[in-house]
């Protein structure tokens, strides 16, 4: 019976934890101010059908606060992220775009974070080398402006609203290594050979037993 009580208590605790999360759940993407930031992302190699290599190629990213931004006084920091284009979200529910910000999984890759200085009115630009854990896919760049409570208030992106223009493709690293391949072959061969050695040995011993 004591076990039942413990189980019930832990269920109640779980419920409480869940309800405490409720307060932050309602922040929506559609509430954010659109185009508050002007963002451009230029790959180091451009052209028809060019695919950037992760870990090698760079993006040249610039962001600037738009003159039409109304929520500008709230800006505390700017977070720049790499986001999936719709083509890379097909049949991949773990990259789905959701309106609730805490559920949205379409912009998982952080590029950089900048503290916002209202005095700086000029465009900020920097180079970003594509990390080696970026998967193969089609991307664009989005910059979120967050307030002092680390809640998003506005954003801007390098593509249009439908996410069809200015996209770039990235090819991930394979993750394979020659040394890994060789080690793998060695251990596999060892496994099979060891088994055969045991088997043949035992058959031989049994034959000797029989002939005795």
């Amino acid at each position: 019976m004591a076990i039942h009580k413990i189980l019930f208590a832990s269920l109640l605790i779980c419920l409480l934890i869940q309800s405490s999360h409720a307060a932050t759940k309602e922040r929506l993407f559609s509430d954010l101010e659109k185009s508050a930031l002007e963002v451009t992302a230029t790959p180091s190699r451009v052209g028809e059908g060019v695919v950037l290599a992760a870990g090698v190629d760079k993006l040249s990213i610039t962001w600037k606060v738009s003159s039409t931004a109304t929520k500008e006084p709230e800006f505390n920091a700017i977070k720049v992220k790499l986001c999936y284009a719709p083509a890379s979200q097909v049949d991949r529910p773990w990259r789905k775009t959701e309106n609730e910000l805490f559920k949205d999984k379409s912009c998982p890759h952080k590029i950089s974070s900048w503290s916002y200085d209202p005095a700086m009115k000029t465009a900020q630009s920097f180079d970003y080398t594509l990390e080696r854990d970026i998967p193969t896919g089609t991307y664009f760049v989005r910059a979120y402006a967050v307030d002092a409570k680390d809640h998003e208030v506005a954003f801007g992106q390098s593509t249009n609203e439908d996410k069809t223009s200015n996209l770039f493709s990235v090819q991930a690293i394979s993750g394979r290594h020659k040394s890994l391949d060789i080690a793998s072959v060695c251990f596999s061969v060892f496994s099979v050979v060891a088994l055969l050695v045991f088997f043949v040995n035992e058959k031989r011993k049994a034959k000797i037993e029989q002939s005795k």
């Binding site: 991949r92 529910p93 854990d133 896919g137 991930a172 394979r176 496994s191 060891a194 035992e202 029989q210």
Partner: protein, 541 residues
């Protein structure tokens, strides 16, 4: 030739393919044989650490002992099986990294999940035959050491196709389930076989839970040494690979096929007779009970294997847990096996003591149906605490049903025990492949709907257990046969041998087993004075 009552309480038995040369006589002719003293329980016990029956199968189960040969075989068996579960489901917790490296879609991942359990359908069938012919040690070692290359070859995988192929090949190693159950069945006596098989199976199945914690940890450690994620996951697979090789070597050096020695030695010295594969196969396939167990296991173990592949993702998506938390939930489903499956085996043994085989069948039906009902509840639960509660109850019910099923399986046939274990085991994987394909690989059902529907189908597919009938013991709704001959265990087990084979004495092992299995009559067996029938065996004077 007086009937021998001292062996009434199941202290005699028979080994699978005949017995050692000393025991070519029956209990009722013991007094005449000059070497009869050799099979009294005091002498053979002297060289075994545990008390044994006349077939040298252990009568007690001591999980903390490693004594040769019984407990050692038990531990080697379940740890080998555990290692294979780790390898087969090693990819599941790493899928978030693998899907990014290989650019997989949901369909790719679903198909690979189906492939990971499908390979074992064939290998479990083959394993039954391998055990019957080469012994449990080589069965286990083949499975471990021939699939280790597949585990290592994860380092070569570059796209969805190769990923699926490798997961398919790794899945072959789940055949160790059959060799493990077979090994315990020849090492432990029928009265405790439910509990022993339940422990071996359950602790092995725990690997599916442990891997959800082990692989992310290994991955994390490798990343700390400076590797990128896309290399680290490949290297992480070396750990299950090493474990398989180590276990393979241990099984071959420390293990023993039968209580009296290794199969090849016993066969060559004429103490164990070789059986013909075609006969073994035919008697397994001809027995309708085999196929009912096939379906039943498909919806207890099959459901469990499917859940191992989908539950982490389900909690992650539906309740928005972090990957880490979802992994813990997934692990606890698999870890419940530690006590749930042995409990099922134990419950089967207890109900056999009271009600005989009928008790075992009822226990099986109750556990599996209750588990499936909780699966329906799991799919319908919309709050996290209820879902976790439903999942835990579902895991206990289904896993206990797996244990209870293997309390029944050893009695379906004596000649084809290995192959029946293999067919039943294959049924588990077949059920898993079908359920994953139908309910979890397309967008027709949401995962929640898939879970509930799977539960409904499982309830329906558990009903066939009512049709399993043993003439000597009865079934769920029918009493044992009143017929003079058919109501004897010897008739049932002797029926697997032709008259010609009987005249050669090849069926002696089955007759010994039949005498031993009288305990499946329940309490009545202890109360009744059942003389050893003289019609069931050839004149051997």
């Amino acid at each position: 030739m007086a009937p021998n009552h001292s062996n009434e309480n199941g202290s005699i038995g028979s080994s699978l393919h005949g017995v050692t040369a000393r025991e070519q006589i029956f209990s009722f002719s013991v007094e005449d044989a000059p070497w009869s003293q050799a099979i009294r329980s005091d002498d053979p016990t002297a060289k075994f650490a545990l008390p044994v029956d006349s077939e040298h199968r252990a009568k007690v189960f001591k999980p903390l002992s490693f004594a040769k040969p019984h407990m050692r075989a038990f531990h080697l068996g379940w740890i080998s099986f555990f290692t294979c579960f780790i390898s087969t489901f090693a990819a599941a917790p790493l899928v978030p990294v693998i899907r990014d490296n290989l650019d997989l879609t949901k369909t790719d991942i679903g198909n690979a999940g189906v492939a990971s359990v499908s390979g074992a359908i064939f290998s479990r069938l083959a394993m039954g035959a391998v055990c019957d012919l080469l012994g449990a040690r080589y069965g286990t070692a083949f499975s471990l050491m021939l699939s280790a290359p597949a585990v290592f070859s994860m380092s070569f995988v570059a796209d969805a196709g190769s990923y699926l192929a490798v997961r398919f090949m790794i899945g072959f190693c789940l055949a160790t389930f059959v060799s493990c159950q077979y090994w315990t069945s020849v090492m432990f006596t029928g009265k405790i076989i439910g509990l022993v098989n339940g422990c071996a199976g359950g602790w092995g199945d725990m690997g599916g839970g442990v891997t959800q914690l082990l692989m992310p940890m290994v991955f994390h450690v490798i990343k700390l040494t400076g590797a990128t994620p896309f290399t680290a996951w490949r290297f992480a697979f070396f750990i299950p690979g090493f474990l398989q090789i180590i276990m393979g070597v241990l099984v071959l050096t420390l293990g023993q096929d039968l209580p009296d020695g290794n199969l090849s030695t016993l066969q060559k010295s004429g103490q164990v007779s070789k059986d013909k594969f075609s006969k073994v196969f035919w008697f397994a396939v001809k027995n309708y009970r085999t196929w009912i167990l096939f379906v039943l296991y498909g919806f207890s173990m099959g459901v469990e294997l499917t859940i191992n592949n989908v539950i982490s993702g389900y909690f992650y998506d539906r309740f928005n847990l972090t990957l880490h938390t979802a992994g813990i939930v997934a692990a606890s489903f698999g870890m419940a096996n530690f006590f749930a499956r042995p409990f099922g085996g134990y419950a089967s043994d207890v109900s056999a003591r009271l009600f005989g085989m009928r008790g075992r069948l009822w226990t099986l039906w109750i556990l599996q149906t209750v588990g499936a009902l909780f699966c329906i509840w799991l799919g319908r639960a919309s709050s996290l605490p209820i879902a976790i509660l439903a999942m835990m109850l579902f895991s206990v019910g289904t896993q206990a049903a797996c244990g209870a099923l293997f309390g029944v399986a050893p009695f379906v046939s004596r000649r084809s025990l290995g192959l029946i274990s293999g067919l039943t085991g294959a049924g588990g994987n077949f059920g898993s492949g079908v359920t994953q394909l139908v309910f979890f690989s397309s967008s027709r059902f949401s995962t929640a709907e898939g879970l509930s529907l799977m539960g409904v189908v499982a309830v329906v597919c558990t009903i066939p257990v009512a049709f399993i009938h043993f003439p000597q013991w009865g079934s769920m709704f029918l009493r044992p046969s009143q017929h003079e001959e058919r109501s004897k265990e010897e008739h049932y087990y002797g029926g697997e041998w032709t008259e010609e084979e009987k005249s050669l004495g090849l069926h002696e092992g089955s007759i010994k087993f039949a005498e031993n299995s009288r305990s499946e009559r329940g309490r009545k067996a202890v109360l009744a004075d059942i003389p050893t029938p003289e019609t069931g065996s050839p004149a051997h004077v």
